[in-house]
């Protein structure tokens, strides 16, 4: 039979165990970013272009009739050059490499930028065939971000290339 003092002791200790769990299961509150900050997520997954070459008629003639594809495209994909400017300052300059052992997979990038909520000038430039100079895809906009808003920079060739969402 437990003594009264032991019962009180057990109640206190089990209570402390429950209180400890109850407190740290919900507290202190966690704030991932300040309230006046918004988030820009840059996430692009894209197959770089290939450096294709048109076959000459002589080359085609030497090939079996069922394999006479007019273009000779290597398996490898081009690196992708990407630049992001925010309010005139460059925040990212990178070259994305294709994945895969044969460099034939997608090139990807995923970055987070925490910015003050408000209006900003955002410019993104991308070139997916580096043998060509300049940037094939450019998107430049004035954006207005609400506090804690998440804006995504993505790429979809079917939607015209780079876009902000």
């Amino acid at each position: 039979m437990l003594k009264p003092a032991a019962i009180v002791g057990q109640v206190i200790l089990y209570g402390a165990f429950a209180a400890f769990i109850g407190y740290f299961a919900t507290s202190p509150k966690y704030h991932q970013i300040p309230d006046d900050v918004a988030l820009i997520k840059l996430s692009i997954s894209h197959l770089g272009d290939r450096d294709c070459r048109k076959r000459t008629p002589e080359e085609l003639a030497k090939m079996p009739p069922n394999m006479r594809a007019p273009m000779d495209c290597p398996r490898e994909r081009s690196d992708i050059k990407l630049e992001v400017d925010l309010d005139g300052k460059d925040v990212l300059r990178t070259v994305m490499h294709p994945t895969g052992l044969y460099k034939d997979g997608v090139s990807t990038v995923y970055k987070r930028f925490e910015v003050k909520a408000g209006t900003h000038q955002l410019a993104v430039r991308m070139n997916d065939k580096l043998i060509n100079p300049g940037f094939k895809f450019v998107q430049e906009e004035e954006i207005t971000l609400a506090p804690r808003q998440v804006m995504v920079i993505d790429f979809n060739p079917d939607q015209g290339g780079l876009y902000f969402k």
């Binding site: 003092a5 032991a6 019962i7 009180v8 002791g9 057990q10 200790l13 089990y14 209570g15 165990f17 429950a18 209180a19 400890f20 769990i21 109850g22 740290f24 299961a25 919900t26 507290s27 202190p28 509150k29 966690y30 704030h31 991932q32 970013i33 309230d35 900050v37 918004a38 988030l39 997520k41 996430s43 997954s45 994945t99 895969g100 997979g105 997608v106 990807t108 995923y110 987070r112 804690r148 808003q149 998440v150 995504v152 993505d154 969402k165």
Partner: protein
């Protein structure tokens, strides 16, 4: 002393002090700190039981998942809400108890030798527990789930394992589908099943496993968590919205601490910490540690195949095989990798009785570092030396209360590897050999370094376990003390109390007839 050893000893000292303080209200068997593994298993069963109910009522639709869980807390608070809260709080408790268990076992040096297997199989369970815990939070699909899902995938993407960033799955609300939650629940069921399988392996090489704590501990823990669930129910944060970053969140620091840690540092630092800690845990047994003691040795000529050592061994180190020389009989076989060198088997062997008249006492299973014959010789020598009005023999566990300072002309002290290695007949042998009283000092309840030494000793002396102390031994002349290394004062008090009792109660009439092994049987 190395830094590691100093750190370990310091931590052990803290654990010992707190455990002993907890012994006061709880007692040894009900002390949760002495049964952390069993506590963790019990909490896991609460998680499984409450989780099964949550699974049956969960709607895995992308919008319905939030509302179906919210319904439990808001409309069905008396059942679903309580079970949901129990599920969460038991999970938090599980993490807490698991980490305490890990630190305690490390501080007690239980990670090498015969405990190597349990240590190694325990490490992956930590990963499984956290995978299950973090995944469980996603199912609610509130802002906390959103934060955790995004942060976890961003952390995973740092590793070169995906061709495309997995965080792209949480870029926008349109990226998610109902199937995501179906897969999530499949994972949230599958990982805990792996965890249970891993737990089976974890305790596989331990016998008499405490699968559950005592009924009193279970009821008290369940009551505490239920009260917590009623007074502070687990609630969802606002629903997830991938178009915004969650604001201030009620946060579970037991399970989701990794996300703030990543935000404060970087994925590289967090992965380095996680892999580094895991590697360190695996490598701990390679660090210098105490040398292994000689293991138990079986003597086939004296082993009767009675099975008692096999039953009593705390680490399942003994198996019974057909006796090579005696057809139909069995022989104990010791597995060197599992033997803890505790001597509990020698204490359980019926051939260990000191009343055998052979000059050299050879028992069925014995410890080379302290054979039963040496124990008998030590006792006989001590009895011959004892003088004074009330002569007392103290059999003490070397890991329990220190008895050496009590040695005096009227008090003999005999150290044992573990109290469990004392064949109960030695108590009667001492009383019949000239001692007026015997004190047996074992570790505190639930505090035996070899798990079961104090339990088997108590049961054998009470007559509840074979080999038992014969009933003709007067209880007034025997004192059992369960004490830790910090209880030397209690042991001294027990010896003093026994001496006073024998001297004042005039119990001389219950003295056992003397027995002299060297005298002729018919003398």
């Amino acid at each position: 002393m190395s830094v590691h050893a100093a750190l370990r000893n310091g931590t052990k000292s803290v654990f010992l002090r707190v455990e002993e303080a907890f012994d006061t209200p709880f007692g040894g068997q009900d002390n949760p700190l002495r049964h952390l593994g069993a506590m963790a298993l019990y909490l896991l069963w609460i998680i499984v039981g409450s989780g099964l109910y949550l699974y049956t009522v969960l709607d895995t639709g992308i919008d319905a998942v939030y509302s179906s869980i919210g319904y439990l807390s808001n409309e069905q608070w008396y059942l679903g809400g309580v079970l949901r809260s129990l599920h969460r709080y038991a999970s938090d408790g599980f993490m807490l108890v698991m980490l305490l268990h890990l630190v305690r076992e490390w501080s007690y040096g239980r990670y090498f030798g015969f405990r190597l297997y349990s240590w190694m199989t325990g490490i992956p369970l930590i990963w499984l527990a956290y995978i299950a815990g973090i995944g469980g939070y996603w199912i609610v699909w509130d802002e906390l789930a959103q934060l955790s899902a995004t942060a976890t995938t961003e952390l995973l993407d740092w590793l070169p394992i995906f061709s495309e960033p997995s965080a792209r799955n949480f870029l926008s609300p349109s990226a998610l589908s109902d199937r995501f939650f179906t897969v999530l629940i499949f994972i949230h069921l599958g990982v805990p099943l792996l965890l249970i399988l891993g737990l089976w392996a974890h305790v596989h090489r331990v016998s008499h496993v405490d699968y559950l704590p005592t009924r009193r501990v279970m009821l008290s823990t369940a009551a505490a968590l239920t009260l917590l669930a009623l007074f502070r129910p687990a609630l969802s944060n606002p629903p997830a919205d991938l178009a915004t970053v969650p604001g201030a969140l009620a946060y579970d620091w037991f399970i989701l601490f990794i996300h703030p840690l990543t935000d404060l540092s970087s994925p590289a630092i967090v992965w380095s910490l996680l892999f580094g800690l895991t590697a360190l845990l695996f490598a701990l047994p390679l660090l210098p540690h105490a040398r292994a003691q000689p293991i138990a040795v079986v003597d086939p000529a004296n082993c009767t195949g009675c099975d008692r050592c096999h039953v009593d061994c705390p680490y399942a180190a003994i198996t019974m095989a057909p006796h090579p020389g005696r057809p139909g009989l069995k022989l104990a076989v010791v597995d060197a990798d599992l033997c803890a060198s505790c001597g509990i088997c020698a204490g359980s062997c019926p051939s260990s009785t000191p009343f055998r008249r052979r000059e050299t006492l050879v028992t069925g299973i014995d410890m080379p570092q302290l054979p039963v014959n040496a124990l008998r010789q030590q006792l006989e020598h001590a009895l011959a030396q004892l003088a004074g009005r009330t002569r007392i023999v103290v059999f003490s566990c070397a890991r329990g209360a220190e008895a050496a300072p009590l040695a005096a002309a009227d008090t003999a002290v005999i150290d044992l590897i573990c109290a469990g290695m004392l064949p109960p007949a030695f108590v009667e042998y001492a009383l019949r050999g000239g001692a007026d009283g015997v004190v047996v000092a074992a570790c505190r309840g639930g505090g035996c370094d070899f798990r079961l030494g104090e339990r088997w000793t108590s049961e054998r002396l009470r007559g509840d376990r074979e080999p038992h102390l014969r009933h003709n031994v007067p209880p007034s002349r025997l004192q059992l003390l369960l004490g830790s290394a910090h209880d030397s004062g209690a042991l001294a008090a027990a010896v003093s109390e026994l001496r006073t009792r024998i001297e004042t109660l005039e119990v001389a009439t219950d003295r056992l007839p003397p027995y002299l092994r060297s005298a002729s049987h018919h003398a």
